[in-house]
């Protein structure tokens, strides 16, 4: 795969089910080595897009190229370079973790005899290798699915809701595993409707709403575009940015003491005190404005012990870019 070719290229993709357009002119690129978050509410068309990318459906219009190969023309070649983990995938009963992976290693025609051991080690499943798959928790089964898609050493991983139904610990483990895989040079395409799941790992995102891409690109770049786009429509006629942000300030002592320091300051829209030591500031401004405000408070002797954005960058982008209509 040439370094200049995007790992995944989706262009003007349309798809219909039962007379309804489920995908409408979906276009985005995923660069090599990225962790790409595909975000959207339930029913937005994420799984359809992913199934098209994984060669399980044929696009009705438009083109998808994976590693420069057209999925509609050469599905066999595409399957060799992708690892696809479907949403709520099943596992085989009455088979151990090791036997499960050995079966898929044989099915993938893997030649290297060390692969199963290496994948067991990478995914932290060595100690469970002789346990029956049916007795495993959801988190371990999800990890096993991830191990399965790694057996043939694919360059691109396509993961549909990999952390859905998992407990917090399992989510953190999956997230760490994804970061490790990125370190190994894999491109990861990740879909989810849980933003916190993606916030810490994604380098780029695309937001899908009602079958349309609302916004796509690197997280920082989108945030910048949104703050620049006040009052102007974003891509494809979507609602303008709100450009209002909220930040939570923790202080040593009564939070009301911050009132005189912030009241009337330019950019501050509202000040609330939900508890004795917490103040929530609603403001209109960018990160530089926020840094200036904190400096001003500290220089004025305010005992600040914590600054937390009320929403992550990704949550903010999502809220600002989508209408939130029911799908």
């Amino acid at each position: 795969m040439s370094a200049t070719v995007p790992a995944i290229r989706v262009r003007h993709l349309w798809h219909r089910f039962a007379g309804q357009d489920v995908l409408r002119d979906v276009t985005f690129d995923v660069g090599q080595g990225e962790i790409f978050g595909f975000i959207g509410p339930n029913g937005a068309g994420k799984t359809t897009t992913i199934r098209l990318m994984a060669t399980l459906l044929e696009p009705m219009a438009g083109r998808i190229e994976i590693g420069g190969i057209d999925v509609a023309m050469e599905p066999g070649r595409v399957r060799r370079i992708i690892g696809y983990m479907p949403d709520h995938a099943g596992v085989y009963d009455r088979i151990t973790v090791r036997e499960y992976l050995e079966f898929f290693a044989d099915a993938f025609r893997v030649e290297s005899p060390e692969v199963v051991d290496a994948v067991l080690e990478l995914t932290g499943l060595e100690k469970l290798q002789d346990k029956l798959v049916a007795t495993m928790s959801k988190g371990i089964k999800q990890r096993l699915q991830l191990a399965r898609v790694l057996l043939h050493d694919p360059k691109i991983l396509i993961l549909d809701e990999p952390a859905s139904d998992l407990d917090p610990r399992a989510r953190i483990e999956i997230r760490d595993l994804l970061l490790e895989l990125r370190g190994l040079g894999k491109t990861i395409f990740l879909s989810s409707h849980i933003l916190t799941e993606l916030a810490d790992v994604c380098t780029s995102v695309a937001i899908l709403e009602k079958g349309r891409i609302v916004v796509a690109g690197p997280v920082g770049e989108i945030a910048h575009r949104l703050s620049q786009a006040q009052g102007r429509p974003l891509q494809q006629g979507v609602a303008p940015a709100l450009a209002q942000r909220r930040v939570k300030l923790r202080v040593l002592g009564p939070a009301e003491n911050l009132g005189p320091l912030l009241q009337g300051a330019s950019g501050v829209l509202r000040l609330e005190f939900p508890s004795r030591q917490v103040a929530v500031v609603t403001y209109a401004g960018d990160d530089a404005w926020l840094a200036g405000m904190i400096r001003h408070l500290v220089m004025s002797g305010a005992p600040i012990i914590g600054v937390e954005p009320e929403r992550t960058e990704l949550e903010r982008i999502f809220l600002e870019a989508t209408r939130g209509d029911l799908q």
Partner: protein
């Protein structure tokens, strides 16, 4: 190498077939065997089945030992055991196989399996081997009970051995049947229910028709064989004199009856497991061509070689069988797409596929052309053989006329059927609707004219030839015309009306075929145009992006 068996064969190393099997077995087979080995209920089912068989055979032996000699007891045990085993294998086989592919779909493991890149034939064979091994285990478990029969006499060890060979062959066919249905179904329960329902409809007919009925036919050919007992074939292998008739009736005919349906079921399974954008047609088309050839040549040979008094009956039976096969194939090929996908065309270009490969590839019209030409060749092979056979024994001219009219009407109606099926398929979005419509129209066309004739007869209170001629548009009229021609001294009117109807069907069929061809061509042309426009648009976008990039 195989991870599952832990065997690795270094490249270039000379190896026995066992080494090759262990170092590269079908991965699905091995995995399913490992899963089966952990199923705790299997030993209990096997034990229960064996106990049941022992009790039944023991009871029969015990009851008969009072009054019969050992030879009679041995024969009774032989027929009872293999009849029961036949029912167990033909009902349990499809049910076990139905469990295999549908359970992958229902358990949501199918997509993972599909994306491994294992070719559909490998998946089909793996599933077949797994289900067949399970059924074979049942047979092996009860084998000692069945083997008891030759100890009593009445049947020989060789006959018992032949019976077991046939039991294993039938088990294979039953498993292939269950697999073909399972490959189409999404739900496990649905697959098992449908499979059992269809098996329950077929198995009693096969048992009575080919078992009991077959023994009557065998007795007719070889009077030393008993008439009536269902398990006659293994006995015939050991007792019938080895000659040309032995080869034809006991080797070639049964082999054809097993191989052709097994091949068909395998191709159906593979086609159902193959993605709709890939080539699902070539395998089924090959099966159709070979089966058409075997049935037409085989029917011709049988028509020529039949005994003088049976010649007309055999010729008509051969023609009926061939037309039934053609009609069924029309339903099978309703699953064809309008034309080949881009993926298939790319594969053809890469391979440098010639006209023959393309003729066997996906598409409504290539399928219709192959059926039409093959059907024409088949009928033109069968008819001269049938007429020649009758001429050899100096049959009456009315009998020759019967065969000619029957073949002509059948061929013309087949042309209509192909034309209508292609026309329907070219106008519907999927095969299910066109298959249902085709079945409904076929039923109405076959039965409708007879209902009309019956109504006219009831109104006029007569049953004259005039009334029967009203039913002439029905393809079943060809069957009724047989009697009419044999009995009537002046058959001209029947021949004339039947010929006009047959020609009308053929012309209508050709017209529908032409219309279907035009529509398919238009759809393919428009599709290609849309794809070309889309390609041009994407290319222009790429060029614009390249020009604007620094």
């Amino acid at each position: 190498m195989s991870f599952q068996t832990g065997r690795h064969l270094a490249p270039g190393t000379p190896a026995s077939w066992l080494d090759r099997l262990l170092s590269d077995p079908n991965p699905i087979w091995i995995r399913e065997m490992k899963q089966s080995a952990r199923l705790t209920r299997t030993p209990f089912i096997l034990m229960g089945l064996t106990l049941m068989m022992v009790l039944i055979i023991g009871t029969i032996g015990g009851l008969m030992s009072e009054s019969s000699d050992p030879g009679v007891i041995g024969t009774a045990i032989f027929h009872t055991f293999f009849s029961l085993a036949f029912w167990v294998v033909t009902l349990a086989g499809p049910a076990v196989a139905a469990n295999s592919i549908a359970s992958e779909r229902e358990g949501k493991t199918w997509e993972a399996l599909q994306l491994t890149g294992l070719p559909p034939p490998v998946i089909a064979r793996g599933k077949f081997l797994a289900a067949y091994t399970n059924i074979a285990l049942y047979v092996v478990m009860v084998a000692p009970v069945g083997a008891m029969s030759f100890l009593f006499g009445g049947v020989t060890a060789l006959e018992t051995l032949f019976a077991f060979v046939w039991l294993f062959l039938l088990a294979g066919l039953s498993v292939a049947f269950g697999l073909a249905i399972s490959s189409k179904m999404e739900s496990l329960r649905g697959a098992i229910l449908v499979t059992l329902f269809v098996a329950l409809a077929i198995v009693p007919n096969v048992f009575l028709g080919l078992g009991v009925g077959g023994s009557v036919m065998a007795h007719h050919i070889w009077p030393l064989l008993p008439e009536g007992p269902p398990v006659w074939l293994p006995v015939a292998y050991a007792r019938a004199p080895f000659d040309l008739r032995y080869v034809g009736v006991l080797i070639l005919a049964p082999a054809t009856a097993v191989i052709l349906p097994a091949w068909f079921l395998y191709e159906v399974t593979v086609a159902n497991l193959t993605s709709i954008t890939e080539d699902r047609s070539t395998g089924l088309r090959r099966w159709f061509l070979v089966t058409s050839l075997v049935l037409s040549v085989g029917g011709g040979v049988v028509s020529l070689g039949a005994a003088s008094r049976d010649k007309l009956l055999v010729a008509l039976a051969a023609l009926c069988t061939y037309f039934a096969f053609l009609a069924i194939s029309t339903f099978v090929f309703q699953g064809e797409p309008i034309g080949p996908s881009r993926c298939v065309e790319l594969e053809w270009e890469r391979r440098g596929a010639g006209w023959w490969a393309r003729a066997l590839g996906p598409g409504v019209m290539p399928a219709a052309r192959v059926q039409l030409i093959s059907g024409l060749v088949g009928v033109l092979t069968l008819l001269p053989a049938a007429v020649g056979g009758l001429s050899l024994v100096k049959a009456r001219s009315s009998e020759i006329l019967v065969v000619l009219l029957f073949g002509f009407y059948g061929l013309c109606f087949f042309v209509f059927l192909i034309g209508f099926a292609s026309w329907l398929r070219a106008r519907t979005s999927g095969p299910a609707v066109s298959r249902i419509l085709l079945a409904v129209i076929l039923f109405l066309v076959s039965v409708g004219p007879w209902v009309l004739a019956a109504m006219v007869g009831a109104i006029t209170r007569s049953s004259s030839l005039q009334d029967i001629l009203i039913a002439s548009p029905s393809p079943l009229f060809a069957v009724a015309a047989v009697d009419e021609l044999r009995q009537s001294s002046s058959p001209e009117r029947v021949v004339l009306v039947a010929s006009i109807c047959a020609l009308a069907w053929a012309l209508l069929g050709l017209g529908l075929l032409g219309s279907a061809s035009l529509r398919c061509e238009r759809i393919i042309r428009e599709h290609k145009k849309a794809l070309a426009e889309s390609d041009a648009f994407l290319r222009a976008e790429d060029e614009a992006a390249q020009a604007s990039s620094p």
